[in-house]
Amino acid sequence: MKKTNLNEYLRNKYGKNVTTITKKFDGQKVKYKEQGKK
């Protein structure tokens, strides 16, 4: 199993740093946010 973390995986696949991803659960906006980012 690779030791790559999620950030490296997303960068390798999508060609850019992915620092924020949003999704709605139960009408509530969920933000997956890199540590230290606002």
Binding site: N5, K24, F25, G27, V30, E34, Q35
Partner: protein, 210 residues
């Protein structure tokens, strides 16, 4: 007999091939000893002692990139699940720990399992351990078995307040974002011991990132 382990003729012919082990069954072992020809002396261990010694594999959690409050890992486990149509699934166990504090609602990413459009959830052992909370008081309970359903507008809504969502609509169908979602009517704190098992079609290579 221990010195002639490859001769199974008499065992098979005598109908002495076992299907299950008894605790007191002995299994032959070679123990290193330079005083014996070949460097090993024949010894044995009981089935019960061997099983106890094997135990569960050790795991090391990795802190989450998006949500450092969660640390987790995924490990393959032995055994398969076979459907009636002959489809065989391999199993993987996701374990971790989430520390929740200071809010009434949480949605923390546990990790992303990549590599298979099809992923089934075959076991759920996650537990909530309440700690100094306004909502629960010294409660340790099994995780609710809740579900996500889709409303008329295509939005995911939950039937209750504590669940682990498997969402593969965020980036790609083979990228499953497993997220711990918990909501209560007041600010609460909890330690959540994450432990669930997923199954994927045999031969599929999956990876876990967090």
């Amino acid at each position: 007999m221990l010195n002639n382990l490859t001769n199974f003729l008499n065992i098979i012919a005598g109908g002495m091939v076992k299907k299950t082990l008894s605790d007191t069954d002995l299994i032959a072992v070679g123990t290193k000893d330079k005083n014996y020809d070949g460097g090993y002396k024949p010894t044995a261990i009981t089935a019960a002692d061997l099983i106890n010694q094997i135990g569960e594999p050790s795991v090391v959690f990795t802190q989450g990139f998006f949500d450092p409050q969660v640390q987790a890992t995924m490990t393959p486990i032995v055994g398969t699940t076979t459907l009636a149509d002959g489809t065989v699934f391999d199993r993987y166990r996701v374990q971790g720990l989430a520390l929740l504090t200071g809010a009434s609602s949480y949605a923390y990413l546990i990790g992303v399992v990549v590599g298979s459009n099809t992923i089934g959830r075959v076991r759920e052992d996650t537990t909530i351990l309440a700690t100094d909370t306004n909502v629960y008081d010294t409660v340790a309970s099994a995780m609710n078995f809740n579900v996500l359903v889709e409303d008329g507008a295509g939005t995911l809504i939950s039937t209750s307040s504590a669940f682990i969502a498997d969402d593969n609509t965020i980036s790609a169908p083979d990228e499953h974002w497993f997220t711990l979602v918990m909501t209560a009517g007041a600010i609460f704190s909890a330690d959540v011991v994450i432990d669930f098992t997923i199954a994927v079609p045999q031969g599929t290579v999956i990876e876990f990132f967090n």
